[in-house]
């Protein structure tokens, strides 16, 4: 058989595939969706990360799946595919650096502050001066730091007032307190790793993916404000003094209240612009501060 005959045979077969709708469909599936028999329901967590990633991208990110199929056809290695898929999913707003994590649902990085954990203060020494205003002193505690409930009530009251301020710096301080006292309303910010693990993970269904992207984007914005607030307080003694003064007023008021009464705290707070503050509409709290009963 000559090369010419072989080429003729190939052309004949290719033509036959093109002319027969059934064969053409089979070829299209083999070309564009070679993993169509993979079923997410049949896959186990122990299965390889790449297989699960391909099933997930096939359902949730068809364009990433398209890129992965192209790379499989180009004989790229599993490690290169891993990098490609992780990079693309990260670009869509869901940071991921290892495909094996995909088996457990959408990975979320918990940023929650665990004030009872002495390790927290090692990792975030810049929070110590602020937390000292709440009577929280990790000292040399090795196992557990005592955080009185009243500190949480005061922290949440101050945060609630601050995030409503027009002045950007004070708003950022509000988010700093919302992070420290777990009251931002964003689960990624309010929950520590273990608490987040107790919640069923988000699936890779399109609705959950969209929700996770919003959640992570909001959390990133909050954490940027948290860090800006920490930095401003750390470099602006006037702001720290004003925060201390308002916290003293909150604590004084709280000490006159008992138990559940504290959930109904009403106090007017004033946050004046300090240093290079933009001023915004930093007026005294126009309404009496009210801590929601369900804040905890």
């Amino acid at each position: 058989m000559t090369t010419h005959t072989l080429l003729d045979t190939y052309t004949l077969l290719a033509g036959a595939v093109r002319d027969d709708p059934f064969l053409l469909l089979a070829n299209a599936v083999a070309w564009l969706d070679p993993l169509w028999t993979l079923d997410a329901d049949d896959m186990e967590i122990e299965d390889d990360g790449l297989g699960i990633a391909l099933v997930v991208t096939r359902q949730a990110f068809p364009d990433i799946y398209a890129g992965a199929v192209e790379r499989i056809r180009a004989h790229l290695s599993a490690a290169e595919l891993d990098r490609f898929i992780c990079g693309e999913i990260t670009r869509r707003g869901i940071p991921i650096d290892n495909l094996e994590y995909m088996s457990y649902g959408i990975p979320l990085d918990a940023a929650g502050a665990l004030l009872e954990d002495p390790e927290f203060y090692t990792q975030h020494p810049d929070t110590l001066p602020i937390l000292a205003l709440f009577g929280i002193d990790p000292g040399r505690e090795r196992y557990r730091v005592e955080v009185p409930d009243i500190a949480y009530t005061a922290g949440r009251a101050a945060a609630d007032s601050l995030v409503k301020q027009g002045d950007a710096h004070w708003r950022q301080v509000g988010w700093t307190l919302a992070w420290l006292f777990s009251c931002s309303g964003n689960s990624v910010i309010d929950l520590d790793y273990e608490s987040l693990m107790d919640i069923p993970p988000l699936s890779w269904e399109p609705n959950d993916v969209a929700f996770a992207v919003d959640l992570i984007e909001e959390a990133n914005g909050i954490m940027a404000d948290v860090n800006a607030g920490l930095q401003w307080l750390g470099t602006t003694p006037g702001a720290m003094a004003q925060l201390e003064g308002n916290l003293r007023r909150i604590f004084r008021k709280l000490k006159t209240m008992k138990g559940k009464q504290r959930d109904d705290l009403r106090i007017a707070l004033e946050w004046r612009p300090v240093g290079d503050s933009d001023g915004g509409t930093a007026l005294a709290d126009p309404e009496f501060l009210h801590v929601r009963g369900d804040a905890a």
Partner: protein, 87 residues
């Protein structure tokens, strides 16, 4: 024609009368030259995404339909003599 009067032959004729499926990926394959091989390359990314999105939706529907057909409840044929049974 009433559904109750349908025979297996009617059903087969009906299925055969369905026009062939036309998916974007099939059109892309039809347009490619023999030299492009069975799996052409160099298709614009957006076109590939549209074709893959369409075909994955199709294969998913087909897979679920196959599962549903595999799990159909059996239909007892009470008036059909089974000659082999006597053996």
């Amino acid at each position: 024609m009433s559904l109750a009067l349908w025979t297996v032959e009617d059903l087969r004729d009906c299925l055969l009368a369905i026009p062939p499926l036309e998916l974007k990926g099939m059109a892309l394959l039809r347009e490619c030259r023999p030299a492009d091989g069975f799996f052409p390359v160099g298709i614009p990314r957006q076109t590939m995404v549209e074709a893959i999105t369409e075909i994955t939706a199709y294969t998913e529907r087909a897979r679920r339909m196959g599962e549903a057909l595999a799990n159909l409840a059996p239909i007892p044929l009470l008036d059909q003599p089974i000659l082999e049974y006597g053996l």
